[in-house]
């Protein structure tokens, strides 16, 4: 029995590539109008809730300011990103990876259990018997797979005028198109925060073995 199923490994690396390209081209797009608003509309300086800093060339795709060039990457890579997410959800439900490893149990939601798990994390103790992931891991993966990644796709479609006839009730629900754009930005940074945390925790817990297992699959034997 492999530690990571082939479907998980394929999607994981495809998704890394997609998220990084989407994020970096997104920062270039952000430079075109670095102000975020709430509500349906907004364009004037002074009415924004956030004046976004200008992102330097080394953080963006392409490496110089180009709204058209960034949009080409963003719009292309949105496809493997969205289809990949659809694929991993189908695979996780079919091979029971979600039910067995990611779905939390009622017992894990007890306050004492959560406190104990947090305390263990703070001691950088990541050993856990029985299940593949501990509670905080399940929660993090569940939020990324169930909220952040699908949220990027929904908010991305929500700011596309061609989707407006279909999505205008959803756009109204979040307060309007500029709110949708703000959420797209917030979710993108939430994914970036996860990425940093995820990489940091891998580096703290047998990085070479973890990397090898995510490529070859590894083995489930203790």
């Amino acid at each position: 029995m492999k530690r990571h199923a082939l479907s998980t490994r394929l999607w994981h690396w495809l998704n890394v590539l997609c998220v990084v390209i989407l994020f970096m081209s997104g920062l270039n797009i952000s430079n075109a109008h670095p102000r975020l608003y709430w509500g349906d509309w907004g364009f004037a300086a002074g009415s924004e809730w956030l004046a976004v800093p200008r992102f330097p060339g080394w953080m963006t795709i392409p490496g110089h300011y180009s709204l058209a060039g960034a949009r080409e990457w963003h719009v292309l890579v949105a496809w493997p990103f969205a289809l990949g997410l659809l694929f991993i959800w189908a695979a996780m439900l079919a091979n029971r990876h979600f039910a067995q490893d990611i779905a939390t149990t009622r017992a894990e939601w007890r306050w004492s259990a959560i406190r104990a798990d947090v305390a263990k994390h703070l001691r950088l103790d990541f050993e856990h018997a029985g299940s593949k992931f501990n509670f905080l891991q399940k929660l993090a993966y569940g939020i990324v797979l169930g909220v952040l990644l699908p949220g990027m796709i929904l908010t991305g479609m929500g700011i596309s005028p061609g989707m407006e006839p279909l999505l205008s009730p959803v756009i109204d629900l979040v307060g309007g198109r500029q709110s949708m754009r703000s959420l797209h930005f917030i979710l993108a940074w939430a994914i970036f925060a996860f990425l940093v945390l995820h990489v940091a925790l891998v580096l703290l817990s047998h990085p070479l073995r973890q990397m090898r297992d995510m490529i070859t699959g590894g083995s489930d034997a203790p």
Binding site: M24, A32, D40, G57, G63, W79, G162, P165
Partner: protein, 245 residues
């Protein structure tokens, strides 16, 4: 610090690689293909439906002008001073009945008034009330030949020395909310917003909404028209021709 340097280095490397890949024919054809997939998916999911129309109370206090916000020629200044009485919109190309319409002719056609949101490719939005005849009314009057597949919009403004133009397919041309607007918020179009006539094509981004319209041309193909990519920004900077994304 070392890790930050490593991340920055990786990011810069990826940015560089992407810039190199962008210029290859494979990347270019993938970019064009993905644009088509979005158009197909949006048309399938949207099913020709209407975009949201807002109550008048939602109109933005000021409607920003972008791109050309004036035309710096004596002819335009004279036309503006005369209230655009001699302005003409020519409808030609692959049509059975070429037309030349004055503003008065356009105002006498059945009118549609819609309060819609304008989304710029840069990211901002503004809400305004637009009034004018549906493009479909004009095209039905001119009668398209069966081989007409695109509608090209000719404009009076130039940007960086080149004439602005745009084009859409028949799906957008015959959409009920695609209108030739001559009014914004109940008054004649301000110069910055395209006086005296502009296109409203509500399911696409702002750069498709050609301003200062002088002509409408039905064509079978966009090749051979200006840079061949169907619009000013498409030719010049590689912006998507389908701007519903």
């Amino acid at each position: 610090m070392r890790r930050r340097g490593f991340m920055a280095g990786t990011a810069a490397l990826l940015a560089g690689a992407c810039s190199k890949i962008s210029d290859t024919p494979t990347a270019q054809s993938l970019f064009r293909a993905s644009e088509g997939w979005h158009r197909g998916a949006q048309r399938l999911l949207g099913g020709g439906g209407l975009v949201k129309e807002y109550p008048r109370s939602d109109i933005s206090p000021f409607f920003r002008g972008n791109g050309s916000t004036a035309i710096d020629t004596p002819e335009y200044a004279a036309a503006q001073a005369a209230g655009f009485v001699d302005w003409r919109l020519e409808i030609g190309g692959l049509v059975a009945h070429p037309l030349v319409l004055s503003l008065d002719n356009i105002r006498k056609l059945p009118q549609r008034t819609q309060v819609t949101r304008h989304d710029c490719v840069e990211g901002w939005s503004a809400i305004g009330e637009w009034t004018g005849p549906q493009l479909s009314t004009i095209l039905e009057g001119a009668q398209l030949f069966p081989d007409a597949r695109y509608i090209v919009f000719r404009c009076a403004d130039t940007l960086g020395g080149a004439r602005y133009y745009e084009s859409i397919d028949l799906d957008d041309a015959f959409h009920p909310q695609t209108i030739i607007a001559h009014m914004l918020n109940g008054a004649p179009l301000p110069v910055r917003n395209g006086a005296p006539l502009r296109l409203r094509v509500e399911r696409q981004l702002g750069y498709k909404h050609a301003k200062y319209l002088t002509g409408i041309e039905a064509v079978a193909s966009l090749e051979g028209i200006e840079g061949g990519k169907g619009g000013y920004w498409e030719d010049r900077a590689g912006y998507h021709w389908y701007a519903g994304i």
